[in-house]
């Protein structure tokens, strides 16, 4: 069920009505849990069993961890949780990938085992909720978090529908305390504007420019560098608007339901270095990887080479988290290279005592341009999965061919929609720059005096009508 469909609207109205009718926190949480399960089952009812499995395992392991004093037994319990959650994730997400690679290796050495390939369906949001439950168990194991004794609260924490299928990855420490207080619906204008912002990003920007990138990347060999660059810029905007749009809608809906979710994006395309980028892009995942992978591996305390090793492992696994494929691993590797390169550069600047340069405008601008060039480059393996196509796109991207011939290629046809693509890129650039220099537009609108916020809402309504695409596209991050 997509957030911006009529079916979701009906679902949400029924949910709100029930929350109005029933009083008492327990009943409200039961309604929310039931609605979260229905929301998930709308896609495929069978896979609710996976969420229930994950919930049951971590709830009981959490309770046992609280009682258990023996460190070895506690470790065994933690390993059980890791095996349960990661086993499920590995089976559904990576089994096909491992099998395919194993088969390739065996064939290379002259063996053909004649395996039957399993066609495993990837359950929506599995990477998100397994990480969420894992973080709970690890925190309880580390005694950083008190065990949750309410099965209802824990189940709702795992399956809370606004963020269930595409994040933000909520921490138990942030969410469980909110469930203790009686939730009150809070219909406030800011939440509405947050939802509008998310829908605008996803539907008006991302969905309207996605077709151009799809056409170019599905068969890139007939295009020159200008078109490859343009398609890449489209995907660069599309993936940000698609994913951050989902997060914005999730935050807005949760706010109306009376719960606060963390911010998942903070204008990542204004970052000037890789470290800054990962503090702004998919913040909930970056922090998860930092707290539960990078730091346990030794973090910055393992010496220079150890730190680089930890960074590489973290980013490679971060890439693999996104999808079972070598292209995602390459994506992670490229980000690891950037992070290591940046640390080397910082050390180099320190040695040469050039740190003062960081405040010079031209340095800032150049570092932004280099960072965004790298981000654009990393999106190629993320978007183009076939090796031959990917290499071609990388070549055309990095070694500009100076072929400016654009006519006669069908770019102006309505199916490619080059004009509308340029229009939406321009619209995105303006809005993004505005939000960077003047603060987010939704807050600005909310703070306007008198009738102005409502005039803005009327304009938004007109824009939605005019530019809402005819076909629905699912969120990209649903596949992770």
């Amino acid at each position: 069920m997509l957030f911006y469909t009529i079916e979701f609207l009906i679902f949400f109205i029924i949910l709100i009505s029930l929350l109005f009718i029933f009083r008492g926190n327990h009943k409200k949480k039961l309604i929310l849990l039931a609605s979260s399960y229905i929301f998930y089952m709308w896609w495929n009812p069978v896979f609710i069993l996976l969420i229930i499995f994950s919930t049951v395992i971590d709830f009981f392991i959490g309770k046992r961890l609280e009682k258990e004093e023996d460190d070895n037994k506690r470790k065994i319990l933690l390993v059980m949780s890791l095996c349960g959650n990661l086993g499920m994730l590995v089976f559904f997400k990576y089994f096909g990938f491992f099998q395919m690679n194993m088969l390739f290796l065996l064939k290379m050495f002259g063996h053909d085992p004649n395996w039957t390939t399993l066609n495993i369906i990837l359950p929506v949001g599995i990477s998100f909720y397994t990480f969420q439950t894992l973080s709970y168990t690890i925190d309880v194991y580390r005694r950083k978090l008190k065990t949750c004794h309410s099965a209802l609260d824990f189940s709702l924490f795992v399956s809370f529908f606004p963020q269930l299928v595409a994040g933000p990855i909520v921490r138990a420490a942030d969410f469980l305390p909110q469930l203790k207080k009686e939730s009150k619906l809070n219909f406030n204008r800011y939440a509405l504007l947050m939802i509008i912002r998310g829908v605008f990003k996803k539907v008006i920007i991302a969905d309207n420019i996605s077709k151009f990138a799809d056409i170019v990347f599905n068969s890139p060999h007939s295009w020159n560098s200008v078109v490859i660059w343009m398609a890449l810029v489209c995907f660069y905007i599309q993936i940000y608007c698609d994913f951050s749009g989902y997060s914005d809608i999730a935050i807005g809906i949760a706010d109306i339901l009376g719960y606060k979710l963390m911010l998942n994006f903070n204008r990542p395309y204004f970052s000037r270095n890789p470290s800054d980028f990962w503090k702004r892009w998919h913040i909930s995942l970056s922090e998860w990887l930092r707290d539960y992978l990078y730091i346990p591996l030794g973090g910055n305390r393992s010496g220079t080479w150890g730190m680089y090793r930890n960074l590489t492992i973290t980013m490679l696994l971060g890439g693999l988290w996104h999808g079972a494929g070598w292209s995602f691993i390459l994506w992670g590797l490229l980000h690891a290279v950037a992070l290591i390169g940046h640390r080397l550069w910082v050390s180099f600047m320190k040695i040469l005592k050039l740190e003062g340069l960081r405040d010079v405008a031209i340095y800032k601008l150049m570092s932004w341009a280099i960072m965004q060039y790298w981000v654009l480059l990393t999106w190629i393996p993320f978007r183009v999965q076939k090796t031959r196509d990917m290499l071609f796109c990388i070549k055309k991207f990095m070694f500009f061919d100076f072929d400016f011939q654009l006519s006669g290629k069908g770019l102006a046809s309505s199916s490619m929609g080059m004009f509308s693509v340029l229009f939406f890129i321009f619209m995105f650039a303006i809005l993004h720059l505005f939000s960077y220099f003047c603060g987010s537009l939704d807050k600005k609108i909310d703070n306007l005096k008198g009738l102005m916020p409502y005039v803005a809402c009327v304009v938004i309504g007109v824009v939605f009508f005019l530019f809402w695409p005819s076909n629905e596209s699912p969120f990209i991050y649903f596949q992770f």
Binding site: L19, F20, R23, K184, L185, N186, F187, N188, R189, A191, L192, L193, I196, L406, S407, G408, L411, A412, S413, S414, G417, M418, F419, S420, F423, P453, Y454, V455, C457, V458, V459, I460, G461, V462, V463, F464, F465, L466, F467, W468, S470
Partner: protein, 336 residues
């Protein structure tokens, strides 16, 4: 405002209502926006305007067909040689179903209608269909549909009839693609300086955008691309629906004393290299079937008129090709 313990801010409700008002306002103004914007199917608007304002022009003959006749028949030459007033009302991907709707809106001065299709177009299922952007434009620009036409579509293509019967608001909402079309038209005007897109949209006599030569290799690629989309090339057979649509159109036109003629356009010999004899035999028997009913006034068969050198691609004619075709039409009409 607190309701049963829950917070409902007035600002939230007013903002939500303002968004809904904005949506409704969009719906209200969009019809006017649609009429003003350039679009890939705006030729329908110019055709309808010409039909509605034809008191002085009084056309007596019209040619219907796809982009092949837009650049294939020069009505200026036809008019000067025969002293008649004919219009070339071809439009991109125009099917016979579209021709039927346009013919319902023609001025009363029209006495002869020529539907002009290649053998492939005549046999294609698209003959009785209308691609959605075209149908949307036909409805949005205000073409009239007589009861007879709806009944014919009900029998021959019920899905099309159902689509036409939908309320105008449904077409208005779907018609937002026109914004993208407007951008594409603007972009194409910028990028394709070699084409006269204004003429292609507005000209009533020879709506020619240009004769773009693709070179031998490009031409071959276009032919191969075209052939890969064609399913059965071994046997030539007209659908019953296609045949019936022609007959029904002839009957409807006959009620107002208008004659329907079928003009088979030249076929590029390169698109039917195999089994040419078998094709000719089957094609002739299909044409005989059409003739046999006696509903069509005349059938002009030019499918063997031109050699491959007169084609830009699989079906569109070169400038020389279009001149030969036009002269042939003039000569044949002169005989009558």
């Amino acid at each position: 405002m607190v309701f049963r313990g829950h917070m409902i801010s007035k600002k939230f409700i007013i903002a939500l209502m303002a968004c809904v008002i904005g949506l409704m306002f969009g719906v209200l103004i969009f019809d006017n926006v649609y009429q003003c914007l350039p679009s890939e199917s705006e030729r329908f608007r110019h055709i309808l305007n010409a039909c509605n304002a034809s008191q002085e022009m009084k056309p007596d003959t019209v040619f219907f067909g796809s982009s092949v006749i837009m650049s294939g028949i020069d009505a200026n030459i036809v008019n000067s040689k025969l002293s008649i007033n004919s219009w070339n009302l071809g439009s991109p991907e125009q099917s016979c179903a579209e021709a039927m709707i346009i013919s319902n809106n023609l001025p009363s001065s029209v006495r002869n209608v020529y539907v002009c299709y290649t053998p492939d177009e005549l046999a294609n299922i698209k003959f009785i269909q209308i691609i959605y952007p075209n149908l949307n434009s036909i409805i949005m620009y205000g073409y009239k549909f007589s009861r007879n036409i709806i009944n014919v579509f009900n029998k021959i293509n019920p899905l099309l009839a159902e689509e036409i019967r939908k309320p105008k608001i449904a077409h208005l909402i779907k018609g937002r693609f026109v914004l993208k079309h407007a951008g594409s038209v603007l972009m194409r005007n910028l990028l394709r300086k070699d084409l006269n897109l204004k003429s292609a949209a507005r000209d009533l006599y020879f709506p020619l955008a240009g004769h773009r030569l693709s070179g031998r290799k490009g031409r071959q690629e276009l032919i191969e691309g075209y052939l890969s989309k064609q399913s059965d090339r071994e046997c030539y057979k007209l659908n019953k629906g296609n045949r019936n649509l022609l007959f029904e159109l002839a009957k409807i036109l006959r009620e107002t004393d208008v004659h329907l003629n079928l003009l088979i356009l030249p076929e590029n010999p390169d698109v039917r290299i195999n089994n040419r004899d078998k094709f000719n035999q089957q094609f002739n028997s299909e044409i005989d079937l059409l003739r046999g009913r006696g509903l069509l006034n005349e059938i002009y068969d030019y499918h063997k008129l031109l050699g491959a050198e007169y084609f830009l691609d699989y079906s569109h004619l070169t400038k020389e090709g279009s001149m030969i075709l036009t002269k042939k039409i003039v000569a044949d009409l002169e005989k009558e």
